[in-house]
């Protein structure tokens, strides 16, 4: 149990760092979605399935969709450097 929890926490910390360090904004949105998804796994492990479902639906699904839409709206939607230079 403790090993599973520490593994999930490690994934959360790594993807939270990736949000800060990734230069690609879409990849950063995906990484923030990974943070929410592993938080949902933690909630499910700690026997809070209601909160886990909310976190998975809103945190991982809806908010990353909303962030991606906002990126597109602001004109920051660039897949990668090669495609931009084409």
């Amino acid at each position: 149990m403790i090993w599973i929890v520490s593994f999930v926490v490690f994934i959360m910390l790594a993807s939270a760092l990736a949000v800060l360090l990734l230069p690609n904004l879409i990849a950063a949105v995906a990484a923030s979605s990974v943070v929410s998804l592993s938080l949902a796994v933690l909630f499910a492990l700690m026997k809070a399935p209601d909160v886990a479902m909310t976190e998975a639906a809103i945190g991982a699904g809806l908010s990353s969709l909303l962030l991606a839409m906002a990126l597109r709206r602001l004109g920051l939607w660039q897949l990668d450097k090669e495609q931009e230079s084409k």
């Binding site: 479902m53 969709l65 909303l66 839409m69 709206r73 004109g75 939607w77």
Partner: protein, 240 residues
């Protein structure tokens, strides 16, 4: 200098949180009300899921306020990010057909997501889940075709009608309880709805109806918000 001060600030905050966290007994409840609710809820409200009993019976007005907050937030985000423009005709020419796998996957996922969303709403008083989670899943289900086929839209009038009816329905069920001499928004069983057997789908009185109204309102609101934002034109990159 600014970096150092922000580092100091966040370090201090982390220290304070750490001190607080070491004082707390982890996993032991310090709330006395929770135990009372756990024991009284199956008899008083008749739900298998205690969270639903707290959300809609003991804290029903909180849920009403939550719906109002969600409505305000969705309206303001739609106002700021989703400005309509008259460039939509120009945008229609540049629609790119999405990939085969993406569009077929969305066709396959949409009915499944609708079933899962309604399941979570209808069984909200028995199993984990409920109106909010199911509503979000419904919103994503109806947004999927818009995401994969950029030409399609959802009728905004329909979304507004569903949202208004669901919100009015929530308040009407609350007023209906007052008609029988109960407090506003209290779920009740002793009318023609019947009490039902504890743990069956048809139980807990009007609470499933309240949850259905919450789910439809959340779903319609979020679907409308997502569609409004996706219809807004992408900004031209001028600075780079």
């Amino acid at each position: 200098m600014r970096n150092i001060s922000s580092l100091l600030f966040s370090g201090g905050l982390a220290f304070l949180l750490l001190v607080l966290a070491t004082q707390l007994p982890f996993g032991h409840t310090s709330m006395l009300l929770g135990n009372d609710i756990l024991q009284a809820a199956p008899d008083e409200v008749g739900t298998g899921n205690i969270v639903a009993a707290v959300l809609l019976a003991y804290r029903g007005i909180d849920t009403l306020g939550e719906l109002a907050i969600l409505f305000t937030a969705a309206a303001s985000v739609g106002l700021i990010l989703g400005q309509r423009s008259n460039h939509s005709a120009k945008r229609d020419k540049t629609i790119t057909e999405s990939h085969f796998i993406t569009s077929r996957a969305s066709d396959l996922m949409m009915p499944l997501l609708i079933i899962v969303g309604f399941y979570i709403i209808f069984y909200g008083h028995l199993t984990p889940g409920g109106g909010f989670q199911g509503g979000v899943i419904l919103a994503i289900a109806f947004f999927l075709p818009v995401l994969t086929r950029p030409g399609t839209t959802i009728d905004h009038g329909m979304i507004t009608i569903i949202e208004g009816l669901a919100g009015a329905g929530f308040i009407m069920i609350g007023l209906w309880a007052m008609l029988y001499g109960k407090p506003f928004l209290q779920p009740f069983f002793d009318t023609f709805l019947g009490n039902g057997i504890f743990g069956s789908l048809w139980s807990a009185g009007t609470l499933p109806l309240l949850y259905l109204a919450v789910g439809l309102k959340v779903g319609a609101e979020l679907a409308g918000l997502l569609v409004t934002i996706s219809e807004a034109p992408a900004a031209e990159v001028e600075r780079t």
